[in-house]
């Protein structure tokens, strides 16, 4: 049921409220979701350590690969565990980090106290230090019971090693090996305003907010606000959200979202055949990734542009390395230069950026199917079914066959097979529009001597080339909806709950109402009730775990 929030809450703010939020129907109530337990991603782990201790603390170690669910690693983070070899690595990292925190270089700055004698245990100083870092690592105060074990260990190890700091390192390592650090677990508590309901604890709210907007652990101020009970009110949350949106850390958070959303983890293992694509190097592909993130940050956060414009904008940033691939002279010898492609240039928007065309291609060839699939699944959030098992591609896929010189000709022949037609019809016309970009993202007008025809159709919108495909994507309602839904699922670390149907619709309406602007979307989600709504898991077993 829709509730209508009063617009007269503050008479002075009336006009402002009407223009900003539209003062339309207010947030529909939701069922909430069961608590979520999410494993920190590699970036979140690294950033947390840098923020809690110091940026020069080396993490070392290797992280287990993540799992994508509904297209997002953030959602997959709520279904992964840790394998034996994965935990071994956490243990190595934990010890490496703890030893640096207490080494001669860092102990002065990082320990809040000095031991009476550095060669002996000092229970008071150990307690103070462990309580300080336990609170930051667990993102909530640690109780006496939780402190007892690392403290006893720190004292025992200090005694054994004759070194207070060596002992402290063992205590810290126990925090770092704990699931309370490696996972972020929602904690629900009884809602004082309605005893039949649960609410998310203030610390869980702080954690969710911080990883959502900054991709790192809550800072002192956010934990303080949780401690003071400020996050139990809408106003308290709004105040923190405003602070966080104004922080330079927001850029880190937005980059983390798009890295996940666009599947940029694939850059870690991206390889191209160096004989076919001598232009491809790891340096170029890392620059390509950065080009897209930098362009998105500029357009969406700095210019506060309409999200849909990322498909039609000609503005970007280039390095000299990228200039070689884009065939654009870049004056700067190193670093990034703003660039605007001229109106007659084939490079327009996200789809023609190297990060898209080279990531969605084979090591030695472009792929209309992979690119079409990526547009459908990543940018429009539509699932393309798995291919059938028994398909014969060979007759039409021979690139040396003089009858079928271009990818379009080969795929058209392939699409005439009934079993394949259904899926290829929804992928290929999109991907074929990008055939002017080879497997390494370089522009070409011909394939095997025949002119490439990039025209096609996206859900009824006809286009003649990649630029018009960008426009078609811009105008496709699924693109904006996909982003809004993904941002919410990313922040919540889960799929939409069936009890969130009305809310999901409301979210999309609000996104449209605010001109598809990302900062507004982030704020809207971060200050919503739905984002924090929680209900007990259906199958909780309290006793006899």
């Amino acid at each position: 049921m829709m509730r209508v929030r009063s617009c007269l809450a503050g008479a002075a703010g009336l006009v402002l409220a009407v223009t900003l939020s539209g003062c339309g129907p207010s947030e529909p109530a939701t069922s909430g979701s069961p608590p979520v337990v999410q494993r920190l991603t590699e970036a979140q782990y690294r950033q947390s350590i840098a923020d809690i201790f110091a940026p020069d603390i080396k993490v070392g170690g290797r992280f287990e690969p993540g799992t994508r669910k509904g297209g997002l690693l953030a959602v997959g983070g709520s279904v992964v565990a840790v394998s034996a070899s994965g935990f071994e690595q956490y243990d190595v990292m934990g010890r490496t980090i703890a030893n640096q925190v207490v080494d001669a270089k860092h102990r002065e700055a990082l320990a809040p106290c000095k031991p009476a004698d550095p060669k002996k245990p000092d229970a008071a100083c150990a307690r103070q230090t462990l309580a300080k870092y336990g609170r930051l690592l667990f993102r909530r105060p640690v109780g006496e019971k939780e402190l007892a074990s690392p403290l006893a260990l720190a004292n025992r190890a200090a005694e054994a090693d004759g070194d207070f700091y060596a002992g402290l390192a063992f205590g810290l390592a126990q925090f770092l090996d704990s699931p309370n650090f490696i996972f972020r677990k929602d904690v629900a508590e009884a809602d004082p305003s309605d005893s039949s309901k649960q609410r998310l604890s203030a610390y869980s709210k702080a954690t969710r907010l911080s990883f959502f907007l900054w991709n790192t652990t809550p800072d002192n101020e956010l934990i303080r606000a949780a401690e003071a009970g400020e996050l139990d009110s809408r106003a308290g949350i709004a105040k923190q959200v405003d602070r966080m949106l104004a922080s330079p850390r927001l850029e880190t958070g937005v980059r983390a979202f798009f890295t996940d959303f666009l599947g940029f983890d694939k850059f870690d293992s991206l390889a191209k055949d160096s004989l076919i694509y001598p232009v491809f190097t790891t340096k170029v592909s890392r620059d390509a990734e950065e080009q897209t993130l930098r362009t998105l940050v500029d357009q969406l956060l700095v210019q506060k542009a309409d999200y849909r414009d990322v498909f039609t904008s000609r503005k970007t940033f280039l390095t000299r390395n990228l200039g070689i691939v884009y065939k654009v002279p870049v004056g700067l010898e190193s670093g990034w230069e703003a660039h605007e492609f001229p109106a007659d240039d084939p490079h327009v928007g996200l789809l023609t950026e190297l990060s898209f065309t080279e990531l969605h291609a084979h090591p030695g060839r472009s792929s209309s199917t992979l690119r079409g699939k990526a547009v459908r699944e990543i940018l429009l959030c539509q699932k393309v079914p798995d291919p059938p098992a028994n398909v014969n591609f060979t007759v039409v896929q021979d690139t040396s066959n003089p009858q079928f010189k271009t990818a379009r000709e080969r795929l058209t022949a392939h699409r005439t097979q009934a079993t394949c037609a259904g899926c290829h019809k929804i992928m290929d016309p999109i991907g074929l529009a990008l055939e002017n970009f080879d497997g390494a993202g370089q522009y070409r007008s011909q394939e095997n001597g025949a002119a490439i025809d990039p025209s096609g159709e996206l859900d009824g919108a006809k286009f003649k080339d990649a630029a018009e495909l960008g426009q078609a994507l811009h105008d496709n309602p699924s693109a904006a909806a996909c982003l809004a839904n993904s941002v919410y699922r990313y922040g919540a670390g889960r799929e939409f709950d069936p009890g969130e149907k009305d809310w999901q619709k409301y979210l999309l309406d609000q996104f449209a109402r605010n001109g598809y602007r990302l900062p507004d979307l982030l704020k809207f989600i971060a200050t919503s009730d739905a984002f924090y709504a929680v209900r007990p898991a259906g199958d909780v077993k309290e006793a006899g775990l």
Binding site: S83, S85, G86, I276
Partner: protein, 445 residues
Amino acid sequence: MKMNLDRRRVLRGMLGGGAVTVALPFLDCFLNTNGTALAAGRPLPVRFGTWNWGCGMNPQRWVPTKTGTNFELGAELKYIEPVREHINVFSGFKAMLDGKPNLPHFSGVQALRAGGVAAQMGPMDAPTLDVLIGDAVGTDTRFRSLEMAATGDPKHSYSYRSATGFNPAEGSPLALYTRIFGPDFQDPNAADFKPDPNVMLRKSVLTGVTEQREDFLRQLGKADRTRMDEYFTSVRQLEQQLELQLQKPPPAEACHVQPKPADGPVGTEVGMVMANHKIMAEILAMALACNQTKIFNMVFSDSASTLRMPGEQMIHHLMTHEEPVDKALGYQPKAAYFVERSMESWALFVKTLASVREGDGTLLDNCLVMGHSDTEYARIHSISGIPVMTAGRAGGRMKTGIHVSAVGEPVTRLGFTFQQLMGVPVEKWGQGSMQTSKPVSEIVA
């Protein structure tokens, strides 16, 4: 007084006391009835491992026509000639779908390794063979199992405890070496042993984590409890690993640690994969000989093989679908090149384990390695005769040099047999129409 006569003591005595008259038959007392060796008074461990290559084979070039011991080796299988005495070949064993779709490059692996197939792509929601066998026999070594991918990608692993319990692979030879033979390695043959007091403290770190279990699991639903229990199981496994480090390791005569490999490039170019596979095989052989693990999973190439050749537009997987069948040859020559390189590397892997002397035989004799692919004929994703081989004698429990053809039989019969050979008390295995209680008796010694 009971005389404590072990092999080491006898050998020492022979050298030290000049007891050169000790006759050979005396040493027979170190052999058990199966003909496998005992070293240092302990039976040698029997290890289980898997070796995976992607995108199958060409049946007419791979499947022998004769069964039994005198089978011929076709164009793709000829590479195993130098090691054929150690190998069994299985053909015709089928993945049964029970009405579910054949998920390309996935259903076959799942049927063979997990005993069932899922309705959709995703993690395997069942313990795979290596995990089942590891739970029964692999708990007393430093590592419960070792996973490796010669392709360099940690996601290239087919070892699962559950849908959430995925065991990722080591992708770099150097990282693999460092994990096993780094600072925490204890040479089982070192003359002196002094438990490291820091190991005791490290163990206490983990005990403290284990104690958080009950509090952490509170409020969680069933699925989250299960996967967080997997986390605590992993903690417990490291605890056990440290516990072992506090005890003097039993001597392992075959254990000779080699120097660490160079930090070379990793990737999917087939030459690079073969080179890294060779180094990883050598590291693994050392790890097994030094009793670091009893369970391993080697991925030579991933299921939908991403192997590639320099200058080729298509990766191996793509070739199996898009390369035209050469009319004169009757197969896809470029795709077949990858099958042959896979078989060549499988033979090298087997030879590497066979070249380590252990007891009165070789390391390989005390192994059961299951080599397999994801499909039969990859071009059509056929799974009616998944290619499987074994290498080793499972400590004398398995016959070798045999081709077993079982057209239409469930592929789970293989996994069932291997579990029994490895000492897992299992009476039946497999889901739906693949459930079986019928071992492949042809290979049981």
